[in-house]
Amino acid sequence: MRISVEINGRAHEGDVEPRTLLSDFIRHGAGLTGTKVGCEQGVCGACTVQLDGEPVRSCLMLAVQANGRALRTVEGLAADGELHPLQRAFHEAHALQCGFCTPGFLMSMEGFLREHPDAGDEQLREALAGNLCRCTGYLGIIEAVEHAAREMRGDQVEAD
């Protein structure tokens, strides 16, 4: 089946089988390998992208379902090449080590923070539970997200 999917503002066309997963189309069809695959069960969150701005597990969608839709992946997060506050916060807080889970966290939390700009710390932790990390132990990630949330709200942000 021939599909056309808009990813980060650009149209990507390809031939897929019905069984081709969206994650595989993004990575091997469109060649955007920033999105990772960790389980193909919807648990680890490494494959998280945004469909019409909302975080979804790309391993749990068929590529054909994205035909004519708009996706955003980690490659599209930095606007005009400038890192998003969340990306900067991850860097500052040492919230990444091997980096494999990082794109999934970024796409999940960018969406979450947009929809819940006033989320409290407990709510943030619960939202973070949708992405697994085996390297960092999460505390740096929590710090990064809390910091980014404050910055995105326009709060006074302390210099670290």
Binding site: V74, E75, L77, A78, H91, T102, N131, R134
Partner: protein, 692 residues
Amino acid sequence: MTGRLAGRPLRRREDDRILRGDTRYLDDIDPPGAAHVAFVRSPFAHARIGGVGVPDELDGVTVITAADLEGRARDLPVQGIEGGRVASEGHPVLARDEVRYSGQPVAAVLAESRALAEDAAELVEVDYEPLEPVLAAGDSEVALSEWRRVSGDVDGAFESAAHVVSASHALPRLAPVPMEPRGAIASYDETDDLLTVWVSAQDSHRQLAGLAAVLDRPEESIHVIVPDVGGAFGSKGVVSPETAVVAAAAMATGWTVKWAEDREENFIASYQGRGVEADVELALDGAGTMLALRARIRADLGGYLMPTTAIPGHTTAMLMCGVYDIQAADVEIMGMRTNKVPTGPYRGAGRPEAAYFVERTVDVAARELGIDPLELRRRNLIRDFPYETALGWTYDSGDYVRCLELAEELVKPERHSDDTRVVGTGFGMYVERAGGMFETAVAELLPEGRVLIRSGSSPHGQGHDTTFAQLAADRLGVGIEDVELRFGDSKEVPRGVGTFASRSVAMGGSAVVLAVDALKEKLRELKDPPPGIRASARFESDLVFSSGAYAAVVEIERSTGRLRVLRLVAVDDAGTIVNPLLAEGQVIGGTAQGLGQCLVEEAAYDEEGNPTFASFLGYSLLTAAEMPPVEAAFVESPSPLNPLGAKGIGEGGAIGTPAAVANAVADALGGRRVDPPFTEEKLWRALREAGP
């Protein structure tokens, strides 16, 4: 450490391209026209194989069995242990007439895509004759490894001791679960007789050595390239059977062959950690001085010895005196064959087991003798270094007293019991071996005064690039942006040992520093040094010994048995710390794995030997929502054994945490034995038995 850069919490240079999604892990590499591999794996824990039948209708697909690899691939090699016996039979790359664990690779199917390869794999007919599996080390009659050391008058000490304390412990198997599963791509150039292999691995060296041994080729004829690696934790160290099959398949077919492991395979077929039981006896005098220790340790090694399967058990045995001045010891470990996936090094690799067995026993002793657990420890801590243990290793430096003191100060012990909950506090000290052997580096002058360092170490998330650049830039007196690092490509980096056993800063970092010094020496003699000048270094050292004291406060809810870790303190002594931000990251990460072991992780097989952990539904990992507050602190007892004074920090979190949490749980339960994971069911029952 005080340098311009070393000792400072610099943020990582590695981060930018990761954050932008500009990384290349193994599966991101898409060689056009590659053949994709799916493995036919045994569904039985133990079975004879009568034959492998490939149906005629499998067009466009190639099936490779052990018969096809006869004369092309040998069994994986097996590493020995010092002073012990290890069986020589290694893991076959593909099963011949027997399978010994569920998930063992039996055949490889090559097709245009992974999906097509899986379709074809379902049609391959393997004639299995199921056999009764052996699923507990205690039921096994085959010892794959044995080691025993008796030192000092152990029997005499036990006979004359005022107190003899016994405690038994069991640690279940754990799955490493790196977020990126394993994988390899191989391509063979017949004209040059060059085999190129990309592999998600901890370093190129061991892959190179393993492939050379399995394929019986000289190392120079193999080019190993390690791309970005999404975590390993010990599970991507030695060459895997699957990687060897991919390489052999590329050579046999002339195609580029790719295997990208999926999560299910990673759970069932990647070697596991822990899986050990111990009976420990401690002899003490009336004042609580430890006189002697006996330990009988039994490891559940799995169906085959992978190259490093016997090593963690040996490490556990060697560390059974822990941080204590115990002059007499009798320690024996037997590694038994079972019908499960093999075990091997997994973060901590023997040290968490030793810390657990020793520290739990010390707490049992404290309770039996009526001495405060911290006081009992203080009476017996090693204070003078270097210290040669009864078991044979020499601890280079340390300040165990200070670590314990700091842990106690930071954790603020708490003990409480009422109708709804109990609260307990526990401590766990550890000493662990790091570094050792040698490591290499080459420093090369680039144009405009920049320097390229080629390192034998290899990163999988630890931040080698930034850390080594800090060291080199300081040594050279240049900006960090003028130092470039190269890792992981066997044709680009000097042959080294690799990344495991927390050795990178102590060994790799020292080699970097020595290579830089050698380069400076060469440059000093030249007026206008042209780019291209190189200097190399090979740094060799005995083992260094990191140590620490962890402490935990836990709460158990009576109505459900639910365990909450209220707070955790991690005091680590890894000698000189080069980048405290990254070092703390290693501690927290290790702690999360240690907590996982305590709370939710267990790789259990059912009564037929089928894995119950084939997906995240059967094997849980902690999420951000479960992490307690963790306070990390460092004590720095520099090691005299390397120019940096560094030891290793990569595994302490996984080593100290289970011992501390287990002691806290035991404290809350009034001393009742519970083995990890500390599930609600176990704790609920224990609390009911213990009474109010």
